[in-house]
């Protein structure tokens, strides 16, 4: 295995899991997330010499994954299971932490794709405003406004959901 292949393999082993979790939070589906990561990492291999020389492999991979995840979120999903094979429902976890997590995941799901990407990149991945702008290929001001609106929507949704649960 040449140096390129070794370096690439090592990069995939160490980052693919993280990239896929980010992609999942952006697109809301594990299989779409997996597709986004596989596509992005394939493109990364093709572009490896150029990207490696520029020294921005992580940024390139994250950008490709997130943009692919946003894109898959827009396309109709053709691999839905049919009603006949819906998996058994998981027993609801009653612990506060898991309920909070599920509420937050549900709330993230109602955000628009780019708002959700801003919130995930800024807070889950811990990127700066400038780094997020580079991934999403937009201005820093756009990241700020999309993030702010995203948080407002999260708050509104959580408030409505909680109120509805209290009533029922």
């Amino acid at each position: 295995m040449g140096e390129r292949d070794e370096a690439y393999t090592e990069f995939v082993r160490s980052t693919a899991g993280t990239l896929r979790r980010t992609a999942y939070l952006v697109c809301g589906d594990w299989h779409r997330a997996d597709d986004a990561v596989q596509d992005a990492l394939y493109k990364l291999y093709l572009a490896w010499p150029r990207v490696h020389r520029a020294g921005n492999i992580q940024a390139y991979a994250r950008r490709a994954v997130v943009n692919s995840a946003i894109d898959t979120g827009r396309r109709p999903w053709r691999r839905e299971t049919t009603a006949a094979v819906l998996p058994d429902r998981e027993v609801p976890d009653r612990t506060t932490d898991h309920a909070d997590r599920d509420e937050l995941l549900d709330a993230l799901a109602v955000l628009g794709p780019r708002q959700r990407a801003c919130v995930v990149l800024r807070f889950y991945d811990g990127l700066s405003i400038e780094e997020t702008a580079e991934v999403l290929d937009c201005a820093a001001g756009t990241v700020k406004s999309q993030t702010s609106r995203g948080l407002d929507h999260l708050r509104d949704h959580l408030t409505r959901t909680r109120s509805a649960n209290r009533v029922t």
């Binding site: 997996d34 291999y45 691999r79 299971t81 094979v85 998996p87 506060t96 937050l104 800024r122």
Partner: protein, 336 residues
């Protein structure tokens, strides 16, 4: 959670989100193989010199859609004489140069020809062959494990008379589990690299949303196709295969042993998914597979041919569970 969180508190909640990935780890070796193929394709189309030009023509010609009912395909340099005169399946498949249509494509061939056909399917495999023969279209070619960086040798299904076009591969992805016979034979043709549109389906079973197994016999009755269509559409790669029709080879005691635990084919499911096909003694009319939770799944058998696709959702479901075998009068002739 207190819903009146300020921005900082909400941001912190997102930062601390626990997300458990249910999928298997990304396989770097598979990505490497795919990436290398991509690099090779780029070199073919951007390289200079006669060899690169010839290779480009060969690859381009092989991927061309149907050019009309006359089926004229451009000549391919450095290949056996082309047989461009047969029609292809409405642009979804293209004839493999140098291969006659129909049963003739499934006859015994030389090692060189087996390698040539497999090279179309798995570029780079041609010189990594371990099999000693005999070789035949639709059969298996054993590949040196070093080719796929695997611990064990792997297989290439030697193509028959046709290969899927880009449009064909797109159909496999967009309609992976058709319900009608024409659709099933179309997809099996794309999977097995042989035109099966005129074949007769003798056995079929479906685990909805997951997998369809199919057995089809050629018009001559001499060849049989064992096909598995999966929810993720496959990529026209190796599948169960095409064989000469012979006597029953599947022992009743081992039926239902093939399959995979959930999740499979990129789809969430629960339990075990059994999928296989074969031929049992001709006096068998029905197979009843029984789950630990008491549910059962019946499979009709015709002329010995059977196909099984069943998602057993019982907790801890495993292969080789209880099985009852019936003859045409309903009499039990075997139990496991």
């Amino acid at each position: 959670m207190n819903t009146q969180l300020n921005d900082d508190e909400l941001a912190e909640a997102v930062r601390r989100l626990e997300v458990t990935d249910p999928l298997p780890a990304v396989d770097p070796d598979a990505l490497l193989t795919r990436g290398r193929r991509g690099v090779r394709r780029r070199r073919i189309f951007t390289g200079t010199g006669a060899a690169a030009v010839v290779a480009a023509i060969a690859v381009s010609a092989a991927l061309l859609p149907d050019l009309g009912s006359a089926g004229h395909a451009p000549g391919v340099a450095n290949s056996p004489s082309a047989s461009p005169t047969r029609a292809t399946a409405s642009g979804l498949m293209a004839p493999i140069p140098g291969v006659s249509a129909g049963d003739a494509a499934l006859a015994t061939i030389s090692k060189q020809e087996a390698q040539r056909r497999c090279e179309l399917r798995e570029p780079g495999v041609g010189d990594q062959v371990m099999s000693v023969g005999p070789y035949r279209g639709g059969g298996m070619l054993l590949v040196d494990p070093r080719y796929r960086k695997a611990a064990q040798p792997s297989m290439c299904n030697i193509p028959g008379d046709s290969r899927p076009t880009k449009a064909g591969l797109a159909v496999l992805k967009s309609d992976p589990l058709p319900r009608d016979t024409a659709g099933l034979l179309r997809n099996c043709s794309l999977e097995l690299w042989h035109d099966l549109r005129s074949w007769r389906v003798t056995a079929k079973d479906t685990a909805p949303g997951l997998v369809t197994t199919l057995v089809a016999v050629s018009p001559s009755g001499r060849y049989v196709a064992h096909c598995q269509l999966t929810a993720n559409g496959g990529d026209g790669g190796s599948g169960p295969g095409l064989y000469a029709v012979g006597p029953a080879t599947n022992q009743l005691a081992y039926l239902g042993g093939a399959g995979t635990a959930c999740p499979i084919f990129g789809v969430r499911c629960v339990g075990w998914v059994a999928y296989e096909s074969g031929r049992v003694p001709s006096n068998v009319a029905k197979l009843r597979f029984i789950s630990k939770n008491g549910r059962s799944h019946d499979v009709a058998v015709r002329d010995g041919w059977y196909a099984l696709a069943w998602n057993d959702t019982a907790p801890n479901a495993q292969p080789n569970g209880p099985l009852t075998v019936y003859d045409s009068r309903g009499k039990v002739i075997f139990r496991r």
